[in-house]
Symmetry: C2
Subunit: 311 residues, 2 copies
């Protein structure tokens, strides 16, 4: 079974969503641009829509016959890409389940458990390795280094270094730079969120990433920007699984962000430094608090795993 047509299915769903509020149907190239897919897939989607009776399609005469209904959509599970499936499964395993450091990771077993080919798992692991949580023993297995306290400290150390530098670089951006406009929008979204916090507090995670990526982008340095992928990945799963005090934590973070944004606008480096540091400190503490304290048993397991590698 080579390649699932999840690009098609996902595009089909997004197309339906589009047609719920759209009357004049756009041309094939325009749809392709809108959905960020190739025209080949657009035509497949249109063909199916015509078959199902949502639209009438004769060359360049396209007409909406009826509004899409919930039953028209493909189920969520089928639109997920293979790498997303693998990532979700893998992260659940190492963050939630049996996450002993030093544990071996078996490509074949992972592939069988998730129900995908080994190549997909291999490529995922290679991509994932840049996050520093796993390490390859050539011609042999992968070693799980574990989402440990050390990992969190190393991560936040670099994060703080990069973000402080980026924040200062932000100050130096010319007033006409689009980042300032985006900062306005991000701030407005923060205030909107705060106004209805009781209901929408769980939207914070997304906003958090958007704000910090904006700050990092001011560094104009691909290594700094790319490093945020590591942070985003960790925080994504962290937000996803660690629910203790979540609402309060998020509320504090929103306030800190607003202070941080004000500091960026103040053009006062000292104030920015203080505000940025304060926020980074509480982010670090939150992350550290979510990590189970490790006993010496864990360290021993790590050493045990180290030994057979040499032989």
């Amino acid at each position: 079974m080579p390649k699932q047509n999840n690009v098609f299915k996902e595009a089909y769903n997004r197309c339906l969503r589009l047609f719920e509020t759209m009357d004049a149907l756009p041309s094939e190239p325009e749809l392709a641009t809108r959905l960020a897919i190739s025209r080949t897939t657009v035509r497949a989607v249109l063909k199916r829509l015509a078959e199902v009776g949502v639209i009438e399609w004769d060359k360049r005469r396209k007409q909406l016959l009826r509004r899409p209904e919930p039953a028209d959509y493909f189920p969520d599970g089928e639109t997920e890409s293979l790498s997303e499936i693998i990532e979700r499964n893998f992260m659940r395993r190492i963050l939630a389940g049996d996450r002993r450091a030093g544990m071996q990771i078996n490509e074949l077993e992972l592939a069988r458990d998730i129900g995908v080919g080994t190549s997909a798992v291999r490529e995922f692991l290679i991509r994932f390795s840049r996050f520093g949580l796993i390490e390859k023993r050539p011609n042999s297995h992968w070693v799980l280094k574990g989402f440990t306290r050390e990992f969190a400290l190393e991560l936040t150390e670099v994060r703080e270094m990069f973000e402080l530098r980026s924040a200062h670089a932000f100050l130096a951006l010319p007033a006409a730079h689009p980042a300032w406009a985006e900062l306005d929008r991000v701030e407005a979204d923060h205030r909107r969120l705060l106004a209805d916090f009781g209901r929408r507090w769980n939207e914070f995670s997304e906003l958090d990433e958007r704000f910090h990526r904006l700050v990092h982008s001011a560094s104009r340095n691909r290594f700094v920007v790319d490093f945020y992928d590591v942070i985003a990945m960790i925080f994504h799963y962290h937000y996803h699984w660690n629910k203790t005090n979540e609402q309060l934590r998020n509320r504090v973070a929103v306030e800190e962000h607003l202070d941080y944004i004000a500091a960026l606008r103040s053009a006062d480096p000292a104030r920015l430094e203080a505000s940025c540091r304060a926020h980074l400190k509480s982010a670090r503490e939150t992350l550290l608090a979510s990590i189970l304290p490790e006993g010496p048993a864990e360290a021993a397991a790590g050493e045990l795993a180290e030994a057979p590698a040499a032989s």
Copy 2:
């Protein structure tokens, strides 16, 4: 033709080299440890050695029949691993050959040109992408971002941030830490190199990496340490292909290293800062000098390549 047996061949060659000066043949597990391979491969090697008549092998009675001759060795080229072959080819293409930024990279074409399977190329590109020189358009091609001036500046910016911090962390290492002993050895090797510089100056590249990795290791931060892989890769190919003033550059660098080492020993943060900065500055200038100045044509090419990505 699945999988080249280059681990076997390389182990075979190293085994021959071992047997040139060895009389009592060791056991299988011991040989495996010595050659850092599995016993299975050791047995394959022994089997072949017996077939060729270098040894006699009956269960646990092994005997050397004759000394290995040059003709017994496998040719060197065949001992290179697949990923090394791909890396070398790829780097030659983008650093030496047609290195227009924005250029598309075609997996299939690369695989055909190099003469390997597509999976090997895919996996290489995924691994290589963390160096920030290429970027994937999902479901589509890779884009070469190019070894440009911007790349070099972004690389050195992070490098300087990390190395300064690591150098200061080095000062704080306890006197008993093994890094100080390694620093002694590295310094001694620098002096030895300097004593016979006219002949051995091209050994500097290796020593350079060893020294800087030692400094970075003091950070005790996997992201800092791993980042040196990017630097090492770039400098490796840079040393390999840019031969202008090479000897002089290396000599200057050796002197700077010695000053840097002395500064580490001085326990004087201000002196260390100055010495480290001076060396990093000249490293940056050397790297920048090796990059061809880019005209506006290059930037235009980059923009052109950006456009079709959306469609």
